[in-house]
Every structure is written in structure tokens, then in C-alpha cells.
Symmetry: C2
Subunit: 372 residues, 2 copies
């Protein structure tokens, strides 16, 4: 049905469609919907406690019999520094006050912990079919334990050398995250905005550089993007924003509305909300924090903005939330995850080669030197 | 043979492949090679005198019977300001001295003139089948004269609202220039780096926003990129860097070598060399000028750097040239324009739908509401 079955044979889903893990704006409903459609649902666990992660995987397992992907972060934890922290709090003070929050109140730093031994034990216990990591991979001892469970390990690359590094360090699948993608860039060997590569150029270069299957992520929201990803040589396509706009996500109404109304050129890469480059709508908070010129490192900035973001979210006030979305947001048009999935699945069929082209691909496979 | 014939029926080429106009690094040889292959060759005329433009079109006409595209710039000319200019010269002084050039010597500002009445007369005289503009369109009176010659007018858009503006102002074809593209961004309603959109997201949005044919430009260097462009809904694909690396271009050896050796994450958008955002290798000149923090407006910065760039070019010293290239440069592998053209043409065949899918497309056309 599709150009190649490498991803399908490895992960054993019916369709080469992956739901992007979107920490903080989704829970099990989207994972279940995508799994029911025949794709791979990724459960974002970076902001979950061990107990909560167990609970969510259990809910998914009860509802659907399909491979599940648990997603974790591998960032370097930030060092505590009381005086720097006080300065950062001061600069965000106006937003706290706008919501009647005490700028001096302690911040909950429990969430956004990097993948650690405790969470590794949860993986060993739950045995998800797939484990994906953002911001690199965990240290070799932990990765070995994850792989010993039989889980397929996936990692995100934003440049070719990150893809090569991930393959060299044990990733079984590479997620090529083009500059179009919403949310946090998975970058871990670079932190420069100028280095980020658009998917039309990134995907074929990653495909050429590694031997493992490649998932194209970023800029894909309808059948056209899926078909293009396969044309570029990807083995699967990952989609976030189009699912985030559906009833099954946990996005606020303001966030859902923003996805439907923000033009691509107002969907920018910024460090303002979390301290790491992430793509979202350039709302009032992003503009003001960027103009202030001082942003704390990740995840400190995320904790600091988190207090007013939570309050803004409860009031569905988009101006002060993290409105993460990719540059394909203006292509979004469906209200349910099932409709989005059907649209993406149509792209898989569109990419299916005719018989003649299957033969041509076979020939090309025998003569790799003839190909770009 | 391909998803739709709108570009072919309008421009009357055999293949929906367009050679990007690359001012300063190509002349008639590449135009002739692409026209001979069956594509549309774009002759960059922005840096040519009227006499030189006449001569080059004449050479092309003698060698090949095919549609020709003349390309011009429509930027706002920079106002002269002697004291600011003196400051800019001072900051670039070290590069002049490195080549034994007098920093105070007058600068040749004749080139990079915006399209004007004199050049419009040349167009009326030469009657190229296609005229393309970068940085917007000429003022209505001039555009009317160009269209009165029967020329098809093409304009470059980097965001959806530029595409809509171009169509509203008379463009017959839109070139969707994704962030991956090499050389100067055609942007004219925005000047912000953060607004630039990757082609996987840009092309389908432009296709949805305008009624005229759309050419995908940026990130395309082999058959995979061409097939992806068609999957995204484009009517044609434009390619620059892959042709720039061939024997038929006028690039320096240093430039050609840089295309073969620079990784995508070192191919950055910068204002350093010309004063406008353009994508090229982050060489010594780019790094140093960006670090200096002061860059003159386009095309002043281009004139100022031009003096040492010319000297560096004569010595094939890549460190001080404008090494324009797109993010697909690492995909480049052929040495002749004919080989590049054959590779791209294979992508057109790859994108050809099977009979079933042609029918499906027809049905989709009757029910536009069902589509992204």
C-alpha cells in the first residue's frame, strides 16, 4: 500500500501515522483515538509522575489493543540559583499580579524531570512497545535497560548530525523534526535557530544518512503532507497540531481557536515561554517576554511562566498561554481525531506507487548509486 | 504524466521544472541547458545593463527554441547618505585591506537597480515568454506594459499573504519560496526571519490561497523533492543550488566546492553579505560581519561587500565570497546540468498518479469542501 513497510514491520501498526507526543495539552483520549485508527499513539510522559504514567498506560491498554509509545525528555536538569531565579521572577511579576498570584510563592519543579532510573523502572514494568525520547537519549545504562524490555527506541533529530548520533547511540527509528514542527525542538547538539532545517531538505538528508526507518515530523496536517513525506523517502509521518485542534485533545478552547486563526508567519520559534526553542503563536506573552530580553534556561523559564499560564488556561486566555502549534496549523480543518486520521490515511494511499513504479523502486533498490 | 498541466499549458514547456534565476553566479549556459532539457530557464537580469540583457537573451534565442524567463528585482532603492556610508565602509575596511583595496574608492552602484522604465523597454523589445520578479512587483504602469507584451508574469512569495498580494496585483504564477531556499528571500511584506515558513507547510497553504499555478522553490535538489512538491499540490518545481554546482554555472570553484561540503545546518539565513535576508554558507565573512553588529541596507551592503567579494572570487577564496546555497545543497551530486535535469525529470514521473488516483483527484475537484 505504501512506498515501504519498514516502519510498519518494526512497530506493527496498520498505518505509518504517528501521533506526536504533546506534553501538557493531551492525555489518553488522543492516544486511544489514533491507536483505534491504526496509527501509533505517543503518550507524553515527561510531565507525569510514575503513578500518573502507570494510570494513563493502563487506561490506553484497557481501551485498545495496539502498540503504545511512551515519550520522555532527556534534557540536562537546570542548576538551582536563588539570586538568578529571583531576578527572573521579578521580570515576570506583572503577569503573576495580573492573575493575583504571589510572585514570591514557591514553584512546583516536580514536572519536566529528565528520564531517570525511577521512570525506567516504570517502563520495565509497563513494557510499552515503543519508547521515544526528546532532547537526545538517556545515559547508556538507562537506555540499555529500556532496550532490554524489547521496546523500540525512537529519537528526534533536527539536523543530520543529530540523526547520525541517535543511530550510533542505539535509536531504532529517527524522527526527523523539520523547522516547521510545533512545540519544542528536539535539538540537543545545537541550540541555534539559524541552523534549523525545513523538512523538504531535512527528510531526504536524514534518510540518506541513517539505515534505520525515518519518521517525518513537522509541517504535515493533511493528506498532501503525508504523501510528500513518503515522496521524500520517509517511512512514516508524525502529526501533532491537527490532532491538538480536535475534541479529543486537552488543549484549552483558546488554544484550539488559535490553531484555527493564526497564519503561518505568526507561528514562530521562541524561547520566551520555556527557555528552549519551541514553535507556537506569537501572542502577547511571547512578544513581551522576547522584548524584555531576559529568558531563564529550560525548564526554569517553563516553571516561571507556568504559574501565570495555568491561571490563564483556566480562564482560556490565549494571550498568556503557550500556544504551541506547527506552521501547518492553517491547514487544520477537522474537529475529531477520527476525521484527522482518515485525512492522513488518505495521504498514505495517495503515496502508494502504481505497479510500474513499484518495479522501478525495486530496480532503484538494486542500484543505489543511481539515486540521490 | 504529472498531477496537473496548468503550468505546462500556460508556459508551454515540456517539463514543469524551472531553473532559479541566480544573479551573479550564472549566465546563458545554464538557461540554455535547462531549456534544452525541456524546462524553463530563468535568466537573472537584475545585475545586467540593458545592453547585456539584450545580448544574453539573443544568445539563448540563437541556441534554443523554447520559452525564456527574464528575472528582475523590485526592491526599493536605498537613499544615499554619505556619513552612514563612510561608517559602513570603515567597518568593512579590514576586508578591503586584505585584498589591497582602497576603502575610500568609489563603489559601482550601477548594478542591482530595481526594474525601471528603461528595462521595461528592453522587455517590450525582446518579448520574453515569461518575466519573473523578486521582492514584489514593479509599479502598476510598468507591470501593465510588461503584461501587454504577452509575457506571463511570475512573482515570489515567502508567506501566504505575499502570495495573495501577488495574485491580486496581476501575477499569473506564484513562486512559493520556502525557508529552505538559497539566495535572497523574495520577502516584501515582511522582513522578519522568524516569519519564514518551511515548504512542507508553505506550498499547500499557497495552493489553497490562490487560483493561479504555484511553483515550489526551496529544498528541492533531486527527484524526491520534485515528487514531494507535486504531492503538496505544486504545479511546478524550481531548483537553483543543484544547477549552481554544475559545470554550466558561473560559480567560482570555491563556491562549487562549498555546495558539496557544507552541511545543511551551516547554510544559514543572513543579512551580512547584502543587507537583505539570503541563505548561504556561514563562512568567515558572514560570521565576522554578523558579529560586528552593523549591516547596511540592501543593496548598499551588497555594494560594500562587493569590492572584496570580487577580489576574493578572482582568487576563489570562499571565506570572503557570498556562498549562496539552499538547505538541499547536501543532496547535490551531479556535475552537469543535463544530469541534474534528468534527475529532476525522474521526480516528475515518480509523482505521476496511477489511473485510479487521477479519477480520485477528479472527484475531489468536484467536492472542494472535502479537501484540506
Amino acid at each position: 500500500m505504501w512506498p515501504d513497510r519498514r516502519f510498519l514491520d518494526l512497530v506493527k501498526t496498520e498505518y505509518p501515522i504517528v501521533l506526536a507526543p504533546m506534553a501538557g495539552v493531551m492525555d489518553t483520549d488522543l492516544v486511544i483515538a489514533v491507536a483505534q485508527g491504526g496509527g501509533l499513539g505517543s503518550l507524553p510522559c515527561a510531565m507525569l509522575s510514575a503513578e500518573k504514567a502507570r494510570e494513563q498506560v493502563s487506561i490506553v491498554r484497557q481501551r485498545v489493543s495496539a502498540p503504545v509509545c511512551m515519550n520522555f525528555f532527556c534534557h540536562t536538569p537546570v542548576e538551582a540559583d536563588a539570586s538568578r531565579e529571583a531576578g527572573w521572577r521579578r521580570r515576570l511579576g506583572a503577569y503573576y499580579q495580573e492573575h493575583g498570584l504571589d510572585p514570591a510563592a514557591p514553584i512546583d519543579v516536580a514536572n519536566r524531570a529528565p528520564f531517570d532510573a525511577a521512570m525506567c523502572t516504570v517502563v520495565e514494568e509497563l513494557k510499552p512497545e515503543v519508547v521515544s525520547f526528546h532532547f537526545g537519549l538517556p545515559e547508556p545504562g538507562l537506555l540499555k535497560r529500556v532496550k532490554a524490555t524489547g521496546a523500540i527506541v525512537m529519537g528526534s533529530a533536527t539536523v543530520v548530525r543529530e540523526a547520525v548520533w541517535l543511530e550510533d547511540h542505539g535509536a531504532d527509528v529517527i524522527i526527523a523534526q523539520g523547522a516547521e514542527a510545533g512545540g519544542h525542538r528536539g535539538m540537543f547538539l545545537t541550540d541555534r535557530l539559524a541552523e534549523q532545517v525545513g523538512n523538504l531538505a531535512l527528510v531526504p538528508q536524514v534518510v540518506d544518512a541513517v539505515d534505520v526507518p525515518v519518521i517525518a515530523a513537522g509541517g504535515i496536517a493533511d493528506r498532501r503532507g503525508v504523501a510528500a513525506a513518503f515522496a521524500l523517502g520517509a517511512d512514516a509521518a508524525q502529526v501533532g497540531t491537527a490532532f491538538l485542534a480536535t475534541a479529543e485533545s486537552a488543549a484549552t478552547d483558546a488554544h484550539r481557536t488559535a490553531i484555527r486563526t493564526t497564519s503561518a508567519d505568526e507561528i514562530v520559534l521562541t524561547r520566551a515561554m520555556s527557555g528552549r526553542l519551541a514553535r507556537g503563536a506569537r501572542n502577547r506573552a511571547v512578544r513581551a517576554i522576547e522584548a524584555s530580553g531576559t529568558i531563564a534556561p529550560f525548564p526554569m523559564q517553563n516553571w516561571l511562566t507556568g504559574r501565570f499560564r495555568t491561571a490563564a488556561g483556566e480562564q482560556s486566555l490565549g494571550a498568556l498561554q503557550s500556544l504551541w502549534m506547527g506552521q501547518a496549523a492553517p491547514l487544520v480543518e477537522y474537529d475529531t481525531a477520527a476525521e484527522v486520521f482518515a485525512e492522513l490515511a488518505a495521504g498514505v494511499s495517495d503515496a502508494a506507487p502504481s505497479d510500474a513504479r513499484i518495479d522501478e523502486n525495486r530496480n532503484a533498490g538494486e542500484e543505489p548509486a543511481a539515486r540521490g
